[in-house]
Amino acid sequence: MPDLKRIPLGAWFGLILCAIFLFAAIFAPLVAPHGMGEIVGDVWAPASAQYPFGTDNLGRDLLSRMIYGARTTILIAALATALSFILGSVLGFMAAVAGGWFDTVSSRVVDLLMAIPTLIFALVVLSVLPTTVVTLILVMGILDSTRVFRLARAVAVDINVMDYVEAAKLRGEGTGWIIFREILPNALSPLISELGLRFIYAVLFLSALSFLGLGVQPPEADWGGMVKENKDGIVFGIPAALIPAAAIALLAISVNLVADWVLNRTSDLKGGRGNG
């Protein structure tokens, strides 16, 4: 365990915010003062003691919807990230270990998928698929797994030539053993450092899709969708849409701060939000 006193201020800020967001997401029905779809007051009522963030475009309590929204947004983003990691790393390791035609074919397919901007390809596919949560997770996870694949393959190619892997092969271990018992433990740290970035990317991506009306469908609450629901208020000077948007930004910043600390990353040529 790291020494608590040596955690920098930024990381503390990130950790505490992440904990708050997670707590809200897990215990949403207990924490939220009102129900998710419950109409409690006027449309776009200003912030008050009773409704700390005011009410939304249908008169629902914005704070309660934010809390339920945390649940939807974080859960879908986490599942998509998990899918992209499992798919990307297993295929990437397999490509590195097996080599030959499997490596060539999978690498070229990944190159091809990455030649199209992620958002554009997601929109193309979502134009024919039904917009359900499962579709969203599958589309986001599969498209994002291309990036994990590249990283996993690059890391595994290096590990694959190590003596202990050679020894395991000579011992007669199968591919499954090589991948899960030799390569995976040694590839874990670069992969975990990527995890935070991919999660942020998934949150931003999901929010963008929902904002465009192609992600999570109403009446389900999710932060990107809430921005869409309340955006018409902006021109009347009602900041309701800014609150869920700020929550997304805050979540992304806090995960970034934590990831930065875990990694002790310096500014390098990686990072950013990818090609969108």
Partner: protein, 319 residues
């Protein structure tokens, strides 16, 4: 001996065209995941079997997928993008003005963000680990974490609604005077700039820092040049290739990031057109716009590679 530059460029462009062909297959295949459902989704559940059969015949859905693909590809190569299912309008004629609008917006965002990013990156290196550098890093962290619509609506909320400097909705039309047009795109262009600025700046900083660690920079320091002179005369020329690469990649992102920004500001560009028709499940429009976005993106990447080949002699001698 390395290969000559023109040969390398022709090879790279050829490779890009091949990639574009593969991408067109992928985009076409991506819309065929639910075969035969297009007619059903246009007409809805209550459609009569006769109407369905008619529409399928009209759309050529009875042909095998590869034949439809060839038909589609042939149309695109001759400039015929097909007709929209929902409005029955010719796609190409409604697309070109929108493409012009999108490129206009992206051009001005690029014209602001590229010089700004390079200047800020240079300043960050000059005052490394100082206050300015830290401030720039903090800004970069914020900017990569903010969703586009947060930046966009913040701008609208303050500049359009509270202080009323600029319009919150960017209406542009043909024959609009240049200044009025510039005022209309002021906010979306600013939002786009903010979205790409940080990444471009951080990578500029990293590229120059990388150069700053080489031996000739140390020599320049030892001979007593001022730091800003070292950056201008010695570091910058060597960092140009990686910086151009960063710039092109970010411009490619800009053309794509435009999708969300256009929806925020109700700007009549390609992105809004795409999103509208995805919601309506108008597959021909989605395919056409998706392919154009992909083509622009691939084109930017080819240019980045060519600049890198021209600027860096080492890339002309592949190992």
């Amino acid at each position: 001996m390395g290969t000559s530059i023109p040969v390398l460029i022709v090879k790279r462009v050829g490779l890009g065209l091949l990639l574009l062909l593969a991408v067109s297959i992928l985009i076409f295949a991506g819309t065929q995941i639910l075969p035969g459902d297009v007619a059903q989704s246009i007409l809805g559940q209550s459609a009569t079997p006769q109407a369905l059969a008619n529409l399928r015949a009209e759309l050529g859905l009875n042909d095998p997928a590869w034949l439809r693909y060839l038909h589609w590809l042939g149309g695109i190569l001759t400039g015929d993008l097909g007709t929209a299912l929902t409005s029955r309008q010719d796609i190409a004629s409604s697309l070109w003005p929108r493409l012009k609008n999108t490129l206009f917006l992206a051009f001005w965002a690029a014209a602001i963000s590229v010089p700004l990013a390079i200047a800020l990156g240079l300043i960050a290196v000059r005052y490394r680990n100082g206050f300015v550098d830290k401030a720039i890093s903090a800004f970069a962290l914020a900017s990569t974490s903010f969703p586009e619509f947060f930046v966009g609506y913040l701008l609208v909320f303050f500049f359009a609604v509270k202080w009323q400097f600029f319009p919150g909705i960017s209406t542009v039309y043909d024959g609009m005077p240049f200044l009025a047009r510039m005022q209309a795109i002021a906010l979306p262009a600013t939002a786009l700039t903010l979205v790409v600025l940080a990444h471009m700046m951080r990578m500029t900083r990293a590229a120059i820092l990388n150069v700053m660690q080489s031996a000739y920079i140390e020599t320049a320091e030892l001979k007593g040049l001022r730091p800003i002179e070292i950056i201008r005369r010695h570091a910058f020329p060597n960092a140009v290739a990686p910086i151009v690469n960063v710039v092109m990649l970010n411009l490619a992102y800009l053309v794509v990031g435009v999708v969300v920004i256009e929806v925020i500001f109700v700007y009549p560009g390609m992105g809004q057109y795409l999103v509208d028709h995805v919601a309506k499940r108008d597959v021909p429009v989605v395919q056409a716009v998706g392919l154009i976005f992909a083509a622009v993106y691939i084109g930017m990447n080819i240019i980045a590679d060519i600049v890198a080949i021209v600027a860096n002699p080492r890339l002309r001698h592949p190992k």
